[in-house]
C-alpha cells in the first residue's frame, strides 16, 4: 500500500538531502569563476565568468605536474593491488594450509589500522634505506594497506560463489592456477571493478603518506599541491575554489562513470551478513 503522498514526500526529502550534499560543491563552482585576488568572498553568479582562473591556478600551483604524479602513483597502486588481492583472496577462500586463520587475521587487521599509527617508523626506515622521496615510497605502503582490504573482499567473493564451480574444474583436471584464470576470473569482473574504484578513490585522496614521504623532493601529489597552494594564498578564494575542483575532478569523473561499482562496495557490508 504505497500512497501518492508518501512518494511525493519521499522525493521532496531526498531532493533536499541531495541539495545539502551538492550545495557547497555548486557554490565552489561559482566561486571558482569569480574575480581573483579580491578579499570579498561573496559569490555572484552574474560575474562568474573568469574561466581564466583555471589556467592561472594550473600554472601557479604547478597542478599539471601534481596531477601527473598522482596519476602515476594511483594507477600503479590500483593495478598492482587488484592483481595481488585476487590470488591472496583465492587461497584464503578455497585452500587449506597451516596458519591460514592466523595469517588472514593479521592481514585483515590492516583494514582497521590507521596510517598514523605506523607513519613514524615507516618514514625512518624508508629514509634509512634511501627509499624516501620517490614514487615507491608512496606506492608500496599504499599497496600494503590496499591488499589488506582487497584480500578480504576477494575472499568473500570466492567463498560465496566459487566452491562448486571450482570443484567441477578440479575434477576435470585443471590445476589451481588454470581454475583461477580460466574459470573464476571471468566471473569476478564486477568485484574486481569495485575494488579498483575503491582503491582509486582512497589512494588519490590520500594526503598524510605523500606529505611525509615526499617532503624532501620536488614531487607532490594533487592534494599536496592544493594544500601548498592554499598555504600561499589563504584568502584568494576564487583561486582556491578552482584549485579544489582541479584536485577532485579526476575522482569525480571516475566516480560518476563507475558509481554503481563504488556504491556496491560500500553497501556490500550491509548485504552480506
Amino acid at each position: 500500500m504505497i500512497s501518492r503522498r508518501d512518494t511525493i514526500v519521499g522525493y521532496l526529502v531526498l531532493s533536499l538531502a541531495a541539495l545539502i550534499s551538492l550545495g557547497p560543491l555548486l557554490g565552489v563552482v561559482i566561486l571558482s569563476l569569480g574575480e581573483p585576488g579580491k578579499v570579498g568572498i561573496r559569490i555572484d553568479i552574474a560575474k562568474a565568468t573568469n574561466f581564466g582562473n583555471y589556467a592561472d591556478v594550473w600554472e601557479k600551483g604547478d597542478f599539471g605536474a601534481a596531477i601527473q604524479t598522482s596519476a602515476i602513483i594511483t594507477i600503479v597502486v590500483v593495478v598492482l593491488s587488484v592483481a595481488l588481492s585476487i590470488p591472496a583472496g583465492y587461497a584464503f577462500a578455497l585452500m587449506n594450509f597451516p596458519g591460514r586463520t592466523a595469517i588472514f587475521a593479521l592481514l585483515v587487521l590492516g583494514i582497521l589500522m590507521p596510517l598514523e599509527s605506523m607513519i613514524v617508523p615507516l618514514y625512518l626506515d624508508m629514509r634509512r634505506f634511501n627509499l624516501d622521496n620517490n614514487y615507491w615510497s608512496v606506492i608500496l605502503p599504499q599497496i600494503g594497506f590496499s591488499v589488506a582490504f582487497g584480500a578480504f573482499w576477494m575472499r568473500a567473493f570466492f567463498v560465496q560463489s566459487a566452491r562448486s564451480l571450482m570443484e567441477a574444474a578440479w575434477i576435470d583436471g585443471a590445476n589451481t592456477w588454470r581454475t583461477l584464470t580460466k574459470v573464476l576470473l571471468p566471473l569476478a569482473r564486477p568485484q574486481m571493478l569495485t575494488l579498483a574504484v575503491l582503491f582509486f578513490v582512497w589512494n588519490w585522496n590520500d594526503f598524510l603518506l605523500p606529505l611525509v614521504m615526499l617532503s624532501g623532493s620536488d614531487l607532490q601529489t594533487a592534494p599536496m599541491a592544493l594544500v601548498n597552494f592554499e598555504g600561499a594564498r589563504r584568502t584568494d578564494f576564487a583561486y582556491l575554489g578552482a584549485a579544489s575542483l582541479i584536485t577532485i575532478a579526476p575522482v569525480i569523473i571516475v566516480f560518476m562513470l563507475l558509481q554503481r561499482s563504488f556504491t556496491r562496495g560500500i553497501l556490500a557490508g550491509s548485504i552480506k551478513e
Partner: protein, 288 residues
C-alpha cells in the same frame, strides 16, 4: 579438492602478504617498540618504559586530543545516523525511482578528497564567508561567528563538516536497507495497533541492524582518524582547541622530533579504533 592442504597456497598469498608485512605490519610493531623510548630518531634513543603512555594520561593537551576525538564521534557518527534513521523511517513506504541520481549526490562528499573539503569549508566558515552572510541575511546576524577562530566553536565547526561528509553516506546506506524490509511487517505492526514510535522500534530499527553497524564502523573510524581536515582547517587551533590524536602524531614526529611520544600516541589511537570496532560488532550481534 577444496579443503585439501596445499603448499601452493603460500605462493598465492606471498606477494600480498610480503608487501603488507614490510610496509604495514612490521612498521606497526616497530612503532610499538619506539613508543617506549625518548629521542629524535636520529641520535641514540633513550629507554623510558611507559613514560610516554603516562604522559598521554597526565598531559592535558595530549589527553584533550582523545576527548576531542570522542566529541567528533557525535558529529561524524551519531548525528548523521540519527538524521538517517529518522528519514529512513519517514521514507520506508516510498518507492523512489531515479535512486542512482540521489545516491550519486549523497555519496559525493564522501568520495572527494578531505583536503579539498577542508579548503571548501574554510571558505564557507570564513568570518566574511557564506555562512555568516546567510545568517545576517535572514536576521540572525547575532549568531555570526569567526567559526574556526573561536575557542568554543572551532571543534563543533570541524564536526559539522564531518556531519556534512557523512550524512549522505549514512542516509544512502539506511535507505537501501529500509527498502528491503517487507511492507507486510509494517502492515502487521499497524494491525496490532502500533503507533509510529512502536513501529520504528519494532520494525524499522531491527530491520536496519546491519546497515547501522556498517554506518557506525565507517563513521566512528573516520571520526577517530581525521587528520587531513584538522591539518588544513585549524592545525589544531585556536590554541589547542581542535588537536586530535592523528594530528599530534604528525606534529610530534615531524615538527618537534619527539619520536617516542608520537609512536605512543599512534599506538593508543589504534587501540582505541580496534576497541571501538569490536564494541560495535558485539553490540550488533547482541541485538540479533
Amino acid at each position: 579438492m577444496p579443503g585439501e592442504a596445499r603448499s601452493v597456497a603460500y605462493l598465492y598469498i606471498l606477494p600480498a602478504a610480503l608487501i603488507y608485512a614490510l610496509f604495514v605490519f612490521i612498521p606497526f610493531i616497530h612503532s610499538i617498540y619506539l613508543s617506549f623510548f625518548k629521542g629524535n630518531g636520529v641520535t641514540r634513543m633513550e629507554f623510558v618504559g611507559i613514560d610516554n603512555y603516562i604522559d598521554i594520561v597526565t598531559n592535558p593537551v595530549l589527553r584533550s586530543a582523545f576527548v576531542h576525538a570522542f566529541e567528533l564521534i557525535v558529529f561524524y557518527s551519531l548525528i548523521p545516523i540519527a538524521i538517517g534513521l529518522f528519514l529512513a523511517s519517514v521514507l520506508h513506504r516510498s518507492r523512489i525511482r531515479g535512486v542512482a541520481f540521489y545516491r550519486t549526490a549523497l555519496f559525493l562528499p564522501y568520495v572527494i578528497a578531505p583536503t579539498a573539503i577542508a579548503v571548501i569549508w574554510r571558505w564557507i566558515l570564513a568570518p566574511r564567508g557564506p555562512l555568516n552572510s546567510f545568517l545576517e541575511a535572514v536576521g540572525l546576524g547575532a549568531l555570526a561567528q569567526p567559526w574556526l577562530g573561536d575557542f568554543t566553536w572551532a571543534l563543533p565547526s570541524v564536526g559539522m563538516v564531518g556531519t556534512w561528509v557523512m550524512f549522505g553516506l549514512v542516509l544512502a546506506l539506511l535507505l537501501a536497507g529500509v527498502q528491503k524490509i517487507p511492507l507486510e511487517l509494517y502492515e502487521a505492526a499497524r494491525l496490532d495497533g502500533a503507533g509510529p514510535w512502536m513501529e520504528f522500534r519494532a520494525v524499522t530499527l531491527p530491520g536496519l541492524r546491519y546497515e547501522i553497524v556498517v554506518a557506525l564502523v565507517l563513521t566512528v573510524t573516520a571520526a577517530l582518524r581525521n587528520f587531513d581536515i584538522i591539518y588544513v582547517m585549524t592545525s589544531g587551533g585556536p590554541g589547542n582547541a581542535t588537536v586530535v590524536p592523528s594530528y599530534l602524531v604528525y606534529q610530534q614526529a615531524f615538527k618537534v622530533a619527539q619520536i617516542g611520544a608520537a609512536a605512543a600516541m599512534g599506538t593508543v589511537l589504534i587501540a582505541v579504533i580496534v576497541a571501538a570496532n569490536l564494541l560495535i560488532a558485539r553490540a550488533g550481534r547482541r541485538d540479533a
